[in-house]
Symmetry: C2
């Protein structure tokens, strides 16, 4: 934590830089996803957060810009989903709130699990042009994670904002990490338990 | 900025602590909203961010826990909507990712404008039991802000998660701040321009 009370700071776990150095990502989407799922696995094995990770890459070259892992319980901040951490770190490093801003290469977010309602909204403001996901919302729900109020047509809503969606890349590998987290008795950190039936059409 | 590259820090503007000290909030929702709208006004007058502010209060006593203002352009982080800043600061101060956690008083978020898609999702993970808003989504859209992919039944979706919604408290005062921002030529910081028609039923 920083000293000033009007300042908020959060960090990646210390193992992240070593993990990145150990990776030799190729150019394919599967290569990028494998790196992200590996980070989610490290995050639960080292007990530094939930079973989710995400990373921002330059779309064309596959160059890693920022890797994020879930830090909700570790930092006591409910917004610190892997996607939020990765997007924030990328923007922080580039000093640019719009990753699609003039003069920048196209950026994409690769996430080990489909974005929840919060991360879906955050994607729209981030400036990425593509989101690539592994496990599905249904996979996360099976663990007990509430994914929040997403509209049924969320993929079209991203498309309307110029964001391509590529789902279920290495889904089974991503689900394995989710299942391992459950077997370890990992915290399911919903603030609220859902009441009543799901809305129609989900 | 902090020194470590794997750490992200962001701050409130310096004027905030003085502003809070100058306020004498009463207990009513209107009193709480007036304080929040006043902060949004300060934020545009001092040019420290967008025309939005939010605060976390203890619901029963009206005690202020954390005041946040929009810091998107100032900190180059697209997630820093007023609501996200207020929720994060409250959790940071209480060292608790669930503001509805055991042993804590009930907390609520008061926001000068209805939450966008990202902030709607964030509310569900935050642990607040009530959200009170001033200007509407339509008011923000008039300025050109895209509020993102929110489901049409978002109020019921919050209700299902135990979160009460109280809209349009001091709406006209909140709209005045939005209009002043437009007249000043404030940045409308959408990453993407919308393409195509809105989805049906919005």
């Amino acid at each position: 934590m920083c000293e000033q009370s009007e300042r908020i700071c959060f960090s990646l776990p210390e193992w992240v830089s070593g993990y990145i150095a150990s990776c030799r990502p190729g150019k394919s989407l599967e290569d990028r996803m494998a790196m992200v799922i590996g980070a989610a696995r490290q995050n639960i094995q080292r007990e530094t957060g939930g079973p989710f990770a995400a990373a921002v890459f330059e779309s064309d070259t596959g160059k890693l810009v920022a890797l994020g892992v879930n830090r909700v319980t570790a930092e006591s901040l409910s917004m610190l989903h892997g996607e939020m951490v990765a997007l924030a770190l990328a923007q922080y490093r580039l000093h640019e709130y719009d990753l699609g801003g003039q003069g920048l290469p196209a950026h994409e977010l690769v996430t080990s699990t489909e974005p929840c309602a919060m991360c879906l909204g955050a994607l729209c403001w981030s400036g990425v042009v593509r989101v690539v996901s592994g496990a599905t919302e249904a996979d996360a729900r099976k663990l007990g994670f509430d994914e929040g109020p997403k509209p049924g047509n969320w993929i079209q809503e991203l498309n309307r904002r110029g964001i391509e969606v590529v789902p279920e890349v290495l889904r089974s590998e991503a689900v394995t990490v989710l299942n391992d987290y459950r077997q370890r008795g990992g915290v399911i950190y919903n603030a609220r338990q859902l009441r009543g039936s799901p809305e129609p059409g989900r």
